[in-house]
Amino acid sequence: MALYRAHVLVCGEPRCVARGAQEVQAALVAKLEELGLGQEIQVLETTALGHGDQGPEIVVYPEGTHYVNLTPDDARLIAEEHLLKGRPVTRLIYKELPTEPLPPPAAKEVRVVLRNIGKIDPESIDDYIAEEGYQALAKVLSEMTPQQVIDEVLRSGLRGRGGAGFPAGKKWAFAAAQPGPDKYLICNGDEGDPGAFMNRRVLEGDPHAVIEGMIIAGYATGAHQGYFYVRAEYPIAVRTLRIAIQQARDYGLLGKNILGSGFDFDLELRMGAGAFVCGEETALMASIEGQRGMPRTRPPFPAVKGLWGKPTNINNVETYANVPQIILKGAEWFAARGTEKSKGTKTFAVAGKVKRTGLIEVPFGITLREIVYDVGGGILNDKKFKAVQTGGPMGGCIPEQYLDTPVDYETLGQLGSIMGSGGFVVMDEDTCMVDIARFFMEFAQDESCGKCVPCRVGTRRMLEILEDICAGKGQPGDIERLEALAQEVRLGSLCGLGQGAPNPVLSTIKYFRHEYEAHIYDHKCPAKVCKGLIEYKIDPAACTGCTACARNCPVSCITGKPKQTHVIDPEICIRCGICQQVCKFGAVLVE
């Protein structure tokens, strides 16, 4: 009897045949012949393999790899990748879909900005109008003076959702007080924080709410031309906005003499190239003008001298999206939620080591603990909470003892962090805080536009120190040097990037100084993350000599005979951790 090194079972049930199993089998056999594997691999037609609803399906033995939804091309790919080169084609492997009921979504959510999202078709202006859309605009144009609009927004306590939290009504009043006739309005949709996508969701899901908010702001400030600044990395948001702007124009809600009121307003869409610094208002305006995106000194503030030197009002996507409802339901309704100084709700992008990641909208005043445990569902794998970083890469890390802090602009600032645009990254006990500080400093250093020397050079120097500490080359005095540099960078930078860049470092030094000290003085990384300070070892008691680690090691630093204990050579080891991942016996330890 001929011996084969592998067998491929092809389902020949009518259901799979109807979906093209025979073509798949023919392609597989032909390709194996072509590769000269005809004598090594046997292809057998069999009965149902178990997932006929996803046929054609095959199973490759001895591994038992189950492929589904195959086309003849896929079969040829499997022949070449899996059967010839030994690399299973992951994308085609059957995946067990969860059958247990999915956990419930967030309780404690309040949807103001996100009220329509998931309910309406974002590409239908009629859907939006049916949900009270453009009613606020109608009210403003028919019943209110610009000053009354500003007063209403002021009374609502709405603050800028882009991060700094400046009262929107005040900003509008400054712009309105400037002499016209040329004034501009900008919507900042350059959401650049890694892992944050609140604005994208609003732009994609309910674009007309933002457009309506902008027209109202234009009326209040006396601007007749608005710009949407959206990053080019949001192609779906850009497409949705284009459609929405055109629909609003077709209905006469943008353009001349809106709703017969005599008020003119139109919008243009500008795409940003994805530089983080262009989320800063003055850099953003430079970018719209076609200049290099760099911040400039303020004052003069944009309300006085903004886009093309004219008075300009600039707000974030979420700020504008709140406006129509404030007008419709009243300032008191809006101000009923939140804390004394921060009114309304805020969207957060919850990410990191929590069970339920995603986008949420919660009222100000909710505690960090409620967000992590009630909304986020607690820490992944029930590990221990270590810290949460709010506000994106310029935010600070807040430790466990402050979990019961109610969230608003002021409290986060007092803890050395920021509200930012609403990033919310949860870290567990396996996170090294020095490594986190290094990671964010790398981001800041990379994104620094280079205009201010303290930011350009300072972030570079801080990054070098942090890299040294993580590599086990930290020197006594490094912590103090970092603190001193942080002050220089913060005080000597024009914009939020440089002013905020030290936050992750300062907050981790403040709350996790012992981790820095362990790295520098004891040459230990308590979370066992920093590669320069850890060593992989094989536990002789647990090792079965299966050779999996040695076979998978990319630098061949593991030696040992089959069925005997294996040994890692720390001199050659690059600490990639693959051996630990492939060991089925938990024999690879980190020290």
């Binding site: 609803d53 879909l97 956990p103 979504p105 999202i117 996508f197 995603g358 986008l359």
Partner: protein, 118 residues
């Protein structure tokens, strides 16, 4: 549109159309098509739904799209509403799950509880 009256008319028309669609359609199927949904394969899911309905010659089901509803982890998310019954949200609906979902919930009116996001 040049006046407030016209805006009100459009609103009434939109509401009326929605109501009519709700009355004449057997069910509404809504697919989340934000960036998260599309990244998770919502386009394929949408395609599978439309193809399946066409194949089965079911014309009285309205299929629409919406944005991200905030549970990106469970994308592709599909919501189904039969008649005036409650809107049911499903998670991780890939094309392979589409026939079962439509058959059980849309046609037989029994929500597929095991895929439901509650």
């Amino acid at each position: 549109m040049k006046s407030l009256e016209e805006l009100q008319k459009i609103k009434e028309r939109a509401l009326e159309r929605k109501k009519l669609a709700g009355e004449s359609a057997r069910a509404r199927v809504i697919v989340g098509m934000g960036t998260c949904g599309i990244a998770a394969g919502a386009r394929e899911t949408m395609k599978a739904i439309l193809e399946w309905l066409e194949k089965q010659q079911i014309a009285d089901v309205v299929v629409t799209q919406t944005g991200c509803i905030g549970m990106c982890e469970y994308e592709p998310i599909v919501q189904v509403q039969v008649g005036n019954a409650e809107l049911v949200t499903y998670g991780k609906i890939d094309p392979a799950r589409v026939p079962t979902l439509i058959e059980r919930h849309v046609l037989n009116g029994e929500p597929v509880t095991e895929w439901q996001v509650k």
